[in-house]
Amino acid sequence: MSDTAITTGRAPSVYMPSAEALATVLAPAERPARPSALSASLTFGWRALLKIKHVPEQLFDVTAFPIIMVLMFTYLFGGALADSPRAYLQFFLPGIMVTSVVMITMYTGVGLNTDIEKGVFDRIRTLPVWRPAALVGMIFGDVLRYVLAAVVILTVGVVLGFRPDGGLLGVLAGIGLLVIFSFAFSWVWTFFGLVLRSEKSVMGTSMMVLFPLTFLSNVFVDPSTMPGWLQAFVKVNPITQLVTSVRAAMAGSMDGPSTMWMLLWSALFVVVFGTLTMYRYNRR
């Protein structure tokens, strides 16, 4: 990395702007029609892909972290909570997949927060495009990371002995539900990314929300062993609904009520936090 910096450093530039060269780019041209909302969002999504291409280290979060989560909890709890790690894995894998991906959603807020610090958002915000496009595109890029994380976890799971009864179709359905929810949930973090001052405070706040939300659910254990008041919370927790629906999908069935609740939660996140985010975005 450093050697390229040296060779590209201070080449003796003898550039002097020439009137003719500038004339070709300055001549007023017909302005093209503004791009559609979808086209603008996809262009911002392309920006996210380019960023991954140039800074591939950022994929560490969506590969190494999920692998550690699966290995750690499978062997930590497997013997104690089920007959064997392998038996536990059959119950646990969809849940840890949800947990890992939902945790990764917080990087949407962190990324937005650092992006805004850098001034590039000033330019983006002065473009005459559909206002949410920059944020939607950013989340499109993140969705790719969610899919990647989910695939990594599944692969590790299958290697360790996880066998989804729903087959490929069930697995795809499960990942689809997870991605829908994560896309919606990302809007919570775009809001925090805009409201909070620093990357650190976005991280801190995200963790405070995510830890209780993912642990106080049916990811790790069957809620029937919990005290009543906790069961009440676990029952309404959107993560529980999501895990139940993903588990069912991967097992080859479909849990109607849970899937509906999970989709309702997703819609609610987009409407409430999407609106709050855009309000903050426009009023900064």
């Binding site: 450093g9 530039s13 702007p17 300055l26 302005r31 029609a33 503004r34 262009t43 850098k118 330019r123």
Partner: protein, 337 residues
């Protein structure tokens, strides 16, 4: 494209914007004629950046109104956005992406097709002498190259009004000259340029009119000639060999120039304004005469210069205080953003 070159590009009346307890804009009025370079001159913390951000629709004013080509910056922000471009003080491109990728991205967002955006990017890179650097990440560009790609990005849509926020701060003299040449070319093609700067010299070189801003309001406005007539065309700076001769030198200068002489912190240095209410020619003649009289009085001058007044001297002339130093005030604004 109507009234691109005629009428007023910017009309701001009584703009107010506070950050916490700081009033960054405190009743700012601005009228920028279309088709010209307009300079906004002031020290750090004077409110220049805040004014630009309000006019570019990035910030909402707390009070007052502003129109860009007749469109209100709050109610009709989208119409304003389609006609302006902003080159901020800090890199306003994605530093992780290459120069070419940044320009293609912006071209696509402005509605160009895939091939059109690529072609436009290549043209711009060539015109700004960046073809070789096209495939390099922007974070690896030198300061001057960064400014150029920033400006290239800003004229991608041939805006009617281009905001340049301190375009040459921190650049070496050659890069500064390049930016100046670009600004002149841009305005020659009919784009109005609103440029903020801390250097009177820069505003004088480029701008048809200048507004001097202090504490969020305009304290003087006019052509460079008008401003200089009111503050003096320049200053003579004299450094004596023998500091002991300074009182005597001060007397000679005061008698010769007919203006008060400032004693600098350096015990051997003196400064005086010349050319007040007069022309440039008189300033030079006055200074030469004063120098002759110092020599005749047996005072040895080691160093002599005649130059444009510095921002500090402008402020001393227009207000009673020097330019606010670049201090916490700016950080405060940053924090309040």
């Amino acid at each position: 494209m109507s009234n691109r070159n005629t009428g007023l590009a910017v009309e701001a009346e009584g703009l107010v914007r506070s950050f916490g307890s700081t009033r960054a804009l405190d009743g700012l009025d601005l009228q920028v004629p279309a088709g010209t370079v307009y300079g906004v001159l002031g020290p750090n913390g004077a409110g220049k950046t805040t004014a630009v951000r309000v006019l570019a629709t990035l910030l909402r004013p707390d009070g007052g109104t502003a129109r860009v080509f007749g469109h209100d910056v709050v109610r009709d922000a989208d119409a304003v956005r389609s006609r302006v471009s902003l080159t901020g003080q800090y890199a306003s491109l994605d530093e992780d992406l290459t120069g070419a990728e940044n320009l293609v991205l912006l071209g696509r967002l402005l509605g160009l097709g895939r091939a059109g955006a690529r072609e436009r990017a290549e043209q711009l890179l060539a015109a700004f002498g960046l073809t070789e650097a096209a495939g390099r990440q922007v974070k690896k560009y030198s300061g001057g190259m960064r400014r150029r790609i920033d400006i290239a990005a800003s004229i991608l849509n041939t805006p009617d009004l281009l905001f340049l926020d301190e375009p040459t701060t921190g650049l070496d003299p050659r890069s500064r000259n390049q930016v100046w040449a670009i600004v002149r070319a841009v305005v020659a093609y009919g784009t109005t340029v609103l440029l903020t700067t801390q250097y009177l010299d820069e505003a004088d070189q480029l701008a048809g009119r200048i507004a001097v801003v202090d504490h969020g309001r305009v304290i003087a406005e006019g052509t460079p000639g008008e401003l200089k007539a009111s503050i003096g065309a320049g200053s003579v700076h004299i450094r004596l060999r023998d500091p002991g001769q300074r009182p005597q030198a001060e007397q000679v200068l005061r008698a010769s120039l007919g203006v008060p002489v400032q004693l600098a912190a350096d015990p051997a240095a003196l400064t005086a304004r010349v050319g007040e209410h007069g022309t440039d020619l008189e300033a030079g003649t006055q200074a030469a005469r004063a120098l002759g009289e110092l020599a005749a009085a047996g005072i040895v001058v080691d160093d002599f210069s005649l130059g444009q007044p510095s921002l500090d001297e402008v402020f001393l002339a227009l207000t009673d205080h020097p330019a606010v130093p670049a201090d916490e005030r700016d950080d405060e604004l940053e924090a309040a953003r």
